[in-house]
Symmetry: C2
Subunit: 281 residues, 2 copies
Amino acid sequence: MSSSSSTVLSEKQVQQVDNLLTAKDDDHGGVIVEMTPEPLDSSIFVSLLRASLSHWRQQGKKGVWIKLPIELVNLVEPAVKEGFYYHHAEPKYLMLVHWIPNTVNTLPVNATHRVGIGAFVMNEKNELLVVQEKSGRFRGTGVWKLPTGVVDEGEDICDAAVREVKEETGVDTKFGEVLAFRQSHKSFFDKSDLFFVCMMHPLSFDIQKQESEIEAAQWMPLEEYAAQPFVQKHELLKYIADMCFVKKKGTYCGFSPVPTLAAFSDKKSYLYLNRQCLDSL
Amino acid sequence: MSSSSSTVLSEKQVQQVDNLLTAKDDDHGGVIVEMTPEPLDSSIFVSLLRASLSHWRQQGKKGVWIKLPIELVNLVEPAVKEGFYYHHAEPKYLMLVHWIPNTVNTLPVNATHRVGIGAFVMNEKNELLVVQEKSGRFRGTGVWKLPTGVVDEGEDICDAAVREVKEETGVDTKFGEVLAFRQSHKSFFDKSDLFFVCMMHPLSFDIQKQESEIEAAQWMPLEEYAAQPFVQKHELLKYIADMCFVKKKGTYCGFSPVPTLAAFSDKKSYLYLNRQCLDSL
């Protein structure tokens, strides 16, 4: 937004002069409005929004995104009354969207999955790094389990596994392979989960357990871990234990991370694949 | 909510009599309020909310969730003013949350990833099923690519791959293996993507392309697909093409889906693992 006036104008005055919201084009024929958290009266917002929608309609724009910081919660109701609906939200903002044309909306879907990791860390004595948790479903059950955790927004799976093992047990590790993954649904309201079982190579062995979340942590013989009734009884954990045995024999191939560049940008991203098989090419 | 009064009371009156919002306990020491989309005055809502918060505080509750249908957008601002913030949103509702205790909030994170699939479908003549898209970044580039698509909320990766191939090309397939997956970040605002390359076995061969999204579809010799300058130039696509060659030779092991029951429920979920290696146990 610019103004040729030599008078210094506040942001709000500039918006009123231009009578339009500041918007950037997106890659899909739409526009994105990122509102700054300065207070804005809802009636001024509505008149700016109406004028802007009319302008974008003339320009043939399709999707209109408005990112409203939580400080501007007073503008949520007016935006919805002008035909916007919720797309997604994070603690500090709400993303609203409106589809202008009379065609089927091709707006991208919201994130649908949370991603977690479980770490399989075995030392040279074939002992597995296991923990008992202070909270959650395993609390008080006496079950020894693999260290697990949630992948942070923007974090690589291979980095998350190293971080979680370090946080929960104090043990340093190097990422090895993804041994398997599980997809489950409706784990949190309507959202799904992807859980990656990761083999990690230990680089240190002294345990310093995390006080806040971990009741106990130890190196436990793989056989003892697998023999726990809870592990034997549950199909999923039984499979994981079986995989650990095959991995111990050295005959299991998982997926290793390979850094690659994305096709349309210079962003690095990891491709996880069966490196051993690929190298046979 | 119940009332022993013999007079018939409206829902709003009952709420006023009880002076509390209807809430269910969650599994983590918190409560969930699912508001019904009947109109509710914001001042009545605020008094119910304040009384309820005081009640939950006395009960030692931790996280308080309020699911507000978009029809009740008038209650968003009052809830935020009472200390709630956004957790997540879908087109028809906004989930607000508030953490009561003076401890670090252990609320689960929002979904962070969108999930997509690319389908590697090869016939007995070593021809690959490829498409040209009408929209998106590949539009007008002349690049032949694997059929791709987004996994719907609650949909299994293996089902999504079958559905997308059918929708885009009309070809029926049976899911084989996940050959690899890629994790990339900030693909859509701050959200990440997980993209699974899936090998599919064709069950039919006649192509009926999807009019709305697909410009062209054909069976193309694998060598011709891989020789496209765009594929050769981009690391990620080059890796995928290499994998296809190894798979063609029959020496690549991906991850196959195995149905399992979840540890704490009777919900079925798929575990994807290297079945060939596991069967060696």
